[in-house]
Subunit: 328 residues, 4 copies
């Protein structure tokens, strides 16, 4: 079915639609933001351009481990995307997310809101742990002694915890939380190779990014991943006149939507509704068909259950979508 | 580390610990229950025994498609497990779950509680759809015309939607919902090959089972899977004096716990707390170590977000647990 | 407007509609139930009859302070109401609720689920406190020393914490929780003089009652009121063929509905929907009119936020309802 | 007990502590804000000063009914309070809230999130209704025909729906929602005569106000009160070095705290925790004493269950607090 085949290659085609030549920008930030808002842009880029930049960690430490800005998920940017206007969709391919130093840090105690209230009293005092990054072996090893976890080593699975565009209504939304504009979603599926879609609310979209994690479990249930500074490369696209309601993403296997709210039930409602709209608008499935398909095939993932707004991810498998319309 | 190696073989060893000879019971139900309670047992079995039986579908229809009992997830059983007493853990290996007729049925419209409240008005009227089961090809194909889904075919992934043991306090809990005793969890991970652990609240445990689904998406968001009657084989074990709080399970790759409650946040709290207890009790990890591990490795799955109690699954990867203590 | 005037006298008229003569039954319980279910009735009464009986406290202690039954909100009853059938509404006027001994007991520490999760660790260990009841002065005075509360005295405001009818589907619902059938709602508005309406699910309705509180704050946020045994008098009525969805009540000033669920948001949805139905069915207000009225006049009260199901109360002021239709 | 007696007169004494002479400012706004943030102040006032100003209605209409600014709870201000610094508490006495025109407007259909999801489909399409304000008789009468509500008249109970101070972290928070800084709490207890306490996050506090309602039910369940423009008079005070976590208030009968969050359960947690802190810090009650007292005396009110963050109010009766310490 033409539209589906086309759609599976959509990001690439989009990236080129604004002009054939790709420009690569190198940008080294000198200041950061702990709210996502219509701040003065640091760079203007065009659809199709690639940006190579860096992010500091959640605590404001850079590649050298120096505290260069106050903590709280400080953001690099914002980047002004030429031609982006309210009602468009910003497309971002996360080309590369690479930890750029040798140590990361994590919390070591579950957040009290992810355990039974009566169990919260059994949680010990929090204290951070350090992890050693092995860039060659692509692993993180717990360096702070924690009884029972000697030599504990995990494969790197680098992700971007917080990114988004300037929100509407003149809002400046803290990078502690998330909403329709993106923000601190802490979903471990926002990793290298993924294409992200964000609604545009202000001219230029004003894209911010930060809060890299070398590793993170579902839900960010200790309140952190392995927090680290990153080298980042991303490529920008734009869908003019395409209006979406919530952040969306796409990898080789899935379309996915992100709902950001509390409780988790509401985050799930947002994500599910956005997925129905996606299937309806781009796949021509009426609500009954989208329901029937999702009812038997949907998958959910928990982004975070720690931040002020939780994040639930609703996923539709591409193998199922691609099987549609064979005979029709 | 001995305990871990041992543990990965736990189910098998347990099943034998009560005696070396396996007895296989064939049981054909003649009546069913729509509440899980201390009903008169239909069969007495011993730890190590295997039971081969059948379940009707959620609507009370059997292998011939005949309505043999009122609908509402009617349960086969209960089975009395010899020697099971309050404070023990019942072990069940789901050996075989096989649809035993050629058609299943599903709903076709999203439940209004899984979409934005403002979107609920856009949902069409519900009407069921029939699916054709291809036992050889192991697929289900939508047989009722739904625009855009002509020939829609999915691989079978048979699961058990509702099962559990008699609850404490003389309760009789509707098979519409779930709690510590199990019940209508509608988690698609309760499939062939999985070992399930349930807390025992009454002498004999009194195990009930029913509500097979040939396929189901996460969350059972249309309110049904592909509902079907099943041939079921399960093998029973018992851990004497082992007290657990919530249903647990184990497959080749994961340990998992099920929390049943509303909202989803509370279901997640139950499941996470139960997993910490599991790691603490059986893996010797203190709360800080269990937190550090889960913080970076936990995975969650949504069981159901349709029933009166939702179900959230908390998973710990065995590959991670098995890597512990290598040097220590 | 005739129907409204009539309705404001509804309870009395109903109590008489089944026959003119009032019979008063004295019933002294000898056993109790900690689940609400289709237990063997202890007494058969007719619509219009009055019952004078007693309840033990939540811990199973009677008027002499003797532990006569296991704790957990043990219920007196059930009472079989002649002629009550599924689809009817049971009417109960709580004529008298009187503490029948000189001491009550309460918890002294907030439940961890009613404070911020991060604050739960600051809660001290729980320990019960005793209160002295002054029957003449109608007060309760804290008898266990708690620093800062020397001589702390409150006016009695006796209420019934847990009561209900046998639920449908053969369920036996623990008296720890509540649902459509009533149960452990712990709403302090269920006090002397109130008329309660309950849906009937089984022949005879099978009314249970217990769990008296001499005093209780909104939400039962320490997990108890001042728990005490009671002398109770109630009068029974029946509305044949009147189907309601949730417990309802009526006092001099308000109609009210009770929604029982978690989270509180869902309890509020149940209560609000039930109130719209009440205004629609009995006051002839279409949904828009009921909405407009409730939008500017509704009041909510928190029943409990401690039990497995929370309780939210939706209230419509009679002074507003009585003002309707003056000109029309 | 001295501190309590003093406290009951606290607002007045505070207002004078910065200087004996009261200055009254008259301020007529010329522009408005739909986010609460560190905007350029419109006026600088001192503790003890009184401000007389106006607010437009939620839709941006002024006393003449003219649309003078885009809708969405546009705010008058911000007012810079001399000497206010982060860590202080801003005190505001709402001296006068008077509708300044003859018509208000309300919605007429329940918000879909306050009814059962399955009932949402029964809600009719929304359409606004007009209300006539009788300033002399202090009533509002429904002017738009709604079947069954001919001549429907309610007493005025004017309140301020949205007000707050500039939030921390450079945030600009939409006036659609609320948080620690106040905002769109839509609590009908914020009425004439009430004293409000707000945490100060930025120099000068930067107080905004707007969104008057002539009448509103609990919860703002149709999404509006009777929306109207107001003449407002308020008097400013300051508690230097007094740090609070959430908005607080005080009227003749109650201390109260406001928790703003979703779900309602979390709003209740915030409000309850803040009340415990209040009783602990200002009344010298340890957590156990505060718990024991609130457990039997607390009252809750629903602010709103419509906005992105819900508002729950936790109230402690002054008659109870004033009874403390008689003998001690």
């Amino acid at each position: 079915m033409t539209i589906l085949t086309l759609y599976s290659r959509l990001p690439d085609s989009l990236l080129l639609e604004e002009g054939g030549r790709v420009t690569t920008h190198h940008f080294q930030p000198t200041h950061y933001h702990t709210a996502i808002a219509a701040h003065e842009p640091v760079l203007r880029v065009a659809a199709g351009d690639t940006v190579i930049t860096t992010t500091v960690d959640a605590g404001g430490r850079d590649a050298q481990g120096d505290a260069v800005t106050p903590g709280g998920n400080p953001q690099t940017g914002p980047f002004f995307i030429e031609g982006a206007e309210p009602g468009d969709t910003l497309v971002l391919r996360l080309d590369r997310l690479t930890p750029n130093r040798d140590t990361g840090v994590s919390a070591t105690v579950l957040a009290p809101n992810v355990v039974d209230p009566s169990f919260a009293r059994e949680l010990p005092e929090g204290q951070p742990a350090e992890w050693r990054i092995d860039h060659g072996g692509k692993t993180a090893t717990l360096a702070t002694p924690v009884a029972g976890l000697a030599g504990f080593t995990l494969p790197l699975a680098t992700m971007l915890g917080c990114f988004g565009v300037a929100p509407p209504r003149g809002q400046a939304i803290s990078t502690a939380t998330s909403a329709e504009h993106g923000g601190n979603m802490d979903y471990r599926g926002f990793r290298e190779g993924v294409t992200v879609y964000l609604p545009v609310f202000v001219p230029g979209a004003l894209f911010h990014l930060g809060d890299g994690h070398a590793v993170q479990g579902d839900g960010e249930i200790v309140g952190t991943g392995i927090e680290i500074s990153l080298d980042v490369q991303f490529t920008v696209g734009l869908r003019k006149g395409k209006r979406i309601g919530w952040p969306r993403g796409e990898n080789d296997d899935y379309l996915f939507t992100a709902g950001n709210a509390r409780p988790l039930d509401q985050a799930l409602q947002h994500a599910t509704t956005e997925m129905v709209r996606w299937l309806r608008d781009d796949y021509g499935l009426e609500t009954r068909a989208a329901s029937t398909l999702l009812g038997q095939c949907v998958e959910y993932e928990v982004g975070n259950v720690f931040d002020p707004a939780y994040t639930m991810i609703c996923k539709a498998p591409k193998r199922v979508l691609n099987s549609l319309g064979g005979g029709g």
